[in-house]
């Protein structure tokens, strides 16, 4: 490990002072195996304790530490400084969200959107608790990818549609809706599709595809949304042509 230094340019914003966000530079010691989060923690512990950011697990599973690093939404715990070191490392809060303080953004709106897609198993009858529902390995595989979403918000930060139309339900919420629709144990696909088949639902999406590029868990929300477009359309056609027929 080489001893040297690295410059961090961090966007600061103090809610109680108001004004506009501004950059602040810090020069800190650097080891080749440091991730961006290590740098932020070094600054907070040893240089400037007022620097504020979210983090917890440091292993890319809790979803807390999203930020724009050199203009790209990334998890700071999973981004090696050596991979983004272009003279300085620029760290800003995630795009497309209001800023609470420094790198902390307000994403409460996502939780409302998540709740709106009925993100839980819906069933008419639940059976008893002595036996599990049978689900084959290939059935689990059908929704496994969408179930991996850690709610890190990188996809919302990457989505230019969300950036200009904040009412868009967005990639992660849509992927999770599909996760439940594809779960063989669920019977609530109809209600979810009704919610998504709206102007603020999946139809806002113009398939930019950047959400899937930045997703750290390979959820592929872009594909999920286009799939939902097919499914929503087919449901709509079925209802038009065969009113009264029951749907899954």
């Amino acid at each position: 490990m080489v001893e040297s230094e690295v410059v961090f340019r961090v966007k600061r914003y103090r809610p109680e002072s108001g004004g506009r966000p501004t950059f602040q530079e810090y020069t800190i010691p650097y080891r080749s195996d440091m991730v961006v989060l290590d740098g932020l923690n070094y600054i907070k512990d040893h240089v400037d304790p007022t620097l504020t950011f979210r983090w917890s697990c440091r292993m890319g599973i809790c979803g807390s530490c999203g930020a724009d690093v050199n203009g790209q939404p990334r998890l700071t715990c999973g981004t090696y400084i050596r991979d983004v070191h272009k003279g300085a490392v620029t760290v800003e809060p995630l795009s497309n969200f209001p800023i609470l303080k420094d790198l902390v953004v307000d994403f409460d709106d996502f939780l409302n959107k998540l709740a709106s897609v009925t993100p839980y198993i819906v069933r008419k009858d639940w059976g008893d608790l002595t036996k599990e529902y049978v689900q084959y390995p290939e059935d689990v595989e059908a929704y496994r990818q969408q179930s991996l979403c850690i709610n890190c918000m990188l996809c919302y930060a990457a989505c230019p549609v969300f950036g200009s139309s904040p009412e868009f339900v967005g990639p992660a919420a849509s992927a999770l809706a599909l996760r439940y629709n594809r779960d063989t144990r669920d019977q609530g696909a109809d209600a979810r599709l009704a919610r998504l088949n709206t102007k603020t639902g999946i139809w806002e999406c113009t398939f930019v595809g950047e959400c899937s590029v930045v997703c750290p868990k390979d959820v592929d929300p872009a594909a999920a949304i286009q799939t939902l477009k097919f499914l929503a359309t087919m449901r709509h056609m079925r209802r038009l042509l065969m009113p009264g027929a029951s749907s899954r």
Binding site: F97, K101, V208
Partner: protein
């Protein structure tokens, strides 16, 4: 005592931030341009109705170098549009005959081959064949 949230505003020129945003804008712009070309083809029908001289004059216009270059550009945009669409189909509408759905690359490949086949047949019909 509460603080103020700093609101988000999307900056113009956001699509210059990386290659993929640029590719997206090209694809979308390309779609618009291709749609506008439909007006050109519509105009061709109108000229046909106007009479032989008007139609011939229009065809001559289409053969001029600037218009030919324009066609090349439009063709490139259509191909880009089609390829990105084919890349998506396998993921958006999974096709499944066995326990796992077909990988998207297979669906992409099959669609490209079908497209080439149909295009080949059309070219044969127009320039060879009948």
């Amino acid at each position: 005592m509460t603080g103020r949230e700093y609101p988000w505003k999307r900056r113009p020129g956001w699509w210059l931030r990386n290659r993929r945003y640029l590719g997206f804008q090209l694809r979308e712009a390309g779609g618009v341009v291709c749609a506008l070309y439909g007006l050109v083809l519509l105009n061709m029908l109108i000229q046909l109705r106007e009479g032989e001289s008007a139609y011939t004059a229009f065809l001559d216009l289409l053969r001029t170098p600037p218009v030919l270059y324009l066609n090349l550009v439009l063709f490139a945009l259509v191909v880009w549009h089609a390829l990105t669409w084919f890349m998506l189909i396998g993921k958006a509408q999974p096709i499944q005959f066995t326990r796992q759905p077909l990988p998207w690359k297979v669906v992409f490949g099959v669609n490209v081959l079908l497209w080439l086949g149909v295009s080949g047949a059309v070219v044969y019909l127009i320039f060879g064949g009948i």
